[in-house]
């Protein structure tokens, strides 16, 4: 079973990662890639910051999906709107003005009953999958620290709530979430110590505490290999003070900062590849690891999203 076929054939992909590693960038790139392969994709933002749409250079979306690029719809999760929709669809309760200030009631239930907020979030995504409105739902999910709680919520609710409507709802959600042919989790990290350690831990926790399958790890911001061994020897020769002086003379200015920058790049690359090895060793055997190059970009928008999509496509052998 190759990762290649799996990933784009899934119906629901949660993209998670420690804050700042480029989780949203990967979610957007993945949506772009799927759309380029003819899929109708819904990309969902869970914390309503407008980051996803910014990567397509489109204005922010709300709870109602809107097409932001060919084949790509976007929505922002809003748990209160999700509750409203839920009540309407499943209980046929017209909420406006009937149960008083819905927001307050919702806040109460959500605060009192752990997991309600989570389940309204996850439930909405599962609902979109169940209704087959899209070929693929990509979720720019909660950060590593919260994703386990979110994905474990349906099971937790199942344990807590023995009867009632919620109970019957969690059953079909679990069915979708637990099916490795439909649902997967993609963990994003950078080749740095903390993100790598968290990703290894996440793999274990996802396996032990949730029913969702982890489909792979995306390592973002992998620095280019500047030199091979021979090049590095020559580079060291160029950095000899006398040689450097001659070089500066010929170039018409001090080349020291240029050489120093290259040394920094080599050092960074080297420290990072140690972490990359650590990652590969720490993940379960056979877990696909996709590498995305560091983008030396001025800004992040539609163009970089396409670059990420193509890099992902190459890694997936598409």
């Amino acid at each position: 079973m190759s990762a290649t076929v799996d990933l784009l054939d899934l119906k629901l992909i949660f993209v998670t990662g420690k804050g700042g590693v480029g989780k949203t960038t990967v979610a957007a790139g993945l949506a772009q890639l799927a759309a380029e392969h003819g899929k109708r994709v819904l990309v969902c933002e869970t914390d309503a910051k407008g980051d996803v749409t910014a990567l397509f250079e489109a204005p922010p979306t709300d709870f109602t999906p809107r097409e932001i690029a060919p084949g790509i719809w976007s929505m922002s999760m809003d748990t209160e709107a999700s509750l409203r929709e839920y009540l309407k669809l499943h209980l046929r309760i017209p909420v406006v003005g009937r149960i008083g200030p819905l927001a307050k009631a919702f806040d109460f239930v959500a605060t009192a009953a752990p997991g309600v907020r989570e389940i309204l979030t996850v439930g909405k995504f599962c609902w979109e999958v169940k209704e087959r409105h899209y070929d693929l739902v990509v979720v720019d999910a909660a950060a590593t620290g919260h994703i386990v709680g979110q994905l474990a919520a349906p099971q937790a609710i199942n344990d807590l709530v023995k009867v009632g409507l919620i109970r019957s709802q969690t059953d079909w959600m679990l069915e979708i979430l637990s099916d490795p042919l439909q649902t997967g989790l993609l963990a994003v990290c950078t080749p740095e110590e903390m993100p790598v350690n968290e990703t290894i831990e996440l793999a274990t926790r996802i396996r032990e505490e949730t029913t969702v399958r982890m489909s792979g790890v995306v390592v973002n911001r992998v620095l280019p290999e500047l030199f091979g061994q021979r090049e590095e020897e020559i580079f060291e020769q160029l950095r000899e003070p006398e040689t450097e002086e001659v070089l500066s003379g010929r170039a018409g200015g001090s080349v020291a900062p240029v050489l120093e920058a290259a040394r920094l790049a080599v050092t960074l690359r080297r420290t990072r590849s140690t972490h990359l090895q650590h990652l590969q060793a720490g993940l379960p055997a056979g877990m696909p690891v996709l590498l995305l190059p560091y983008l030396f970009a001025r800004s992040f928008g539609a163009r970089t999203t396409r670059q990420v999509a193509h890099a992902l496509g190459e890694e997936l052998g598409l």
Binding site: V109, A113, P114, G145, L247, G253
Partner: protein, 387 residues
């Protein structure tokens, strides 16, 4: 810009730490917040003395290692002076560390507020309580602030540096005490408890029950009710406490330190955080930017030089080394790499310019060659930030 902040505004992190009792490190996850908090606490002990506590939420083994501890628990432990000695430093005061154990802290809180042993045992055994204290994400935020308050009132430390939990919304923990107070004083809470006190259901509450019953099932509602009836005995204690915590956050001896990198997403969060702090009239003492690209990468003259190096690589390489062909290639690579990193460095500088002006102090920390593994590393980081 300094003028606008008043004459007493700190100009360095050292001055800031000397003037404050509590420093709350906040910002996006994954930017070195925990390490920065620990580095500042350790440096404060070496440079300024006194009793300093670093209160972390990060269970990472590495920080414990760096501090020379086997592990850090909910109880405060002192970092032995020998650990400083390994880095060739001599502490003038004492460094203490504690890690926030959310579940344990909740249990302690219940024990402190419960009117009697029976209530306490009932609450601790309630399935809802167990869920809230162990899993409920927002409870971390509340408990972190609660613990800070407790430590502060005990008055054992001259300086407390707090590393806040990574939150989906960086502001959750600021609002946590108020939300907790609102929650316990909410009318809905009273509605919910009513039917278990008497058989008379409040007319206004009836629709809510009908919905809640259908969604959640009666047993679950009964669990909720029991939980809140028990909690009600602690109601006033909790609300008072939450209000006191809120006051502490806005006290003039408390300051906030936003830690970030200059990557696009973290920097946006840092900006958002800074403006929210201002809106709440909370004091933003410092912004610490980690892993910043060195300044020389932005030099326009060098950038030009790199461009011409790329073009004249063959001539430049002639006769310099024992392998001109490889040397040519190396020069091209080196020149290209400089320009690539230059793009990133210039983007970072722009982002930094937008942040300047918000805090009293803005400091940058360069990319370190190696990760921080020990006290020496923490102190090196601290020294970068200090003056």
């Amino acid at each position: 810009m300094t003028a606008a902040k008043g004459a007493d505004a700190a100009k360095t992190v050292a001055q800031l730490l000397a003037a404050k009792d509590i420093v709350i490190a906040c910002g996006p996850g994954g930017v070195g917040k925990t390490t920065t908090a620990a580095a500042l606490a350790a440096t404060a002990v070496v440079e300024q003395g006194g009793r300093v506590l670093v209160l972390t939420v990060d269970p990472a083994r590495r920080l414990a290692d760096a501090l020379g501890l086997k592990g850090i628990g909910n109880d405060e432990v002192r970092i032995p002076d020998e650990v400083f000695a390994t880095a060739g430093a001599h502490p003038r005061g004492e460094l203490w560390a504690a890690m926030l154990d959310t579940k344990q802290s909740w249990d302690d809180l219940i024990a402190a507020h419960a009117p009697d042993e029976e209530t306490r045992e009932h609450i601790l055994a309630n399935p809802l309580y167990q869920n809230i204290s162990a899993r409920f994400v927002q409870s971390h935020d509340y408990i972190a602030m609660e613990r800070l308050y407790e430590i502060h009132t005990e008055g054992k430390y001259d300086l407390v540096v707090v590393d806040t939990p990574p939150t989906r919304n960086a502001l959750d923990f600021l609002d946590a005490p108020q939300r907790m107070a609102d929650f316990f004083s909410s009318r809905l809470l009273r509605w919910l408890i009513v039917p278990y006190r008497s058989r008379l259901v409040n007319v206004a509450a009836r629709p809510f029950y009908q919905v809640a019953d259908r969604i959640l099932g009666t047993q679950f509602l009964a669990d909720i009710s029991e939980f809140f009836i028990l909690f009600q005995s602690m109601y006033s204690g909790f609300v008072e406490r939450a209000e006191a915590v809120t006051r502490l956050l806005s006290d003039r001896r408390t300051t906030f330190m936003v830690v970030s990198t200059l990557e696009a997403t973290p920097v946006r969060e840092a900006e958002f955080f800074s403006s929210e702090l201002a809106a709440r009239k909370l004091h933003l003492g410092a912004i610490v930017l980690n892993k910043v690209m060195p300044e020389y990468l932005r030099d326009a003259k060098t950038d030009k030089l790199a461009q011409s190096m790329e073009k004249q690589s063959a001539e430049l390489a002639r006769g310099l080394t024992d392998d001109p062909a490889v040397a040519t290639r190396v020069i091209v690579e080196v020149a290209e790499s400089f320009q690539n990193f230059g793009v990133v460095a210039r983007r970072e500088a722009e982002q930094m310019a937008e942040l300047r002006g918000a805090p009293d102090v803005l400091v940058t920390v360069p990319f370190f060659d190696a990760d921080i593994y020990d006290m020496g590393g923490l102190l090196r980081l601290g020294a970068q930030v200090w003056d």
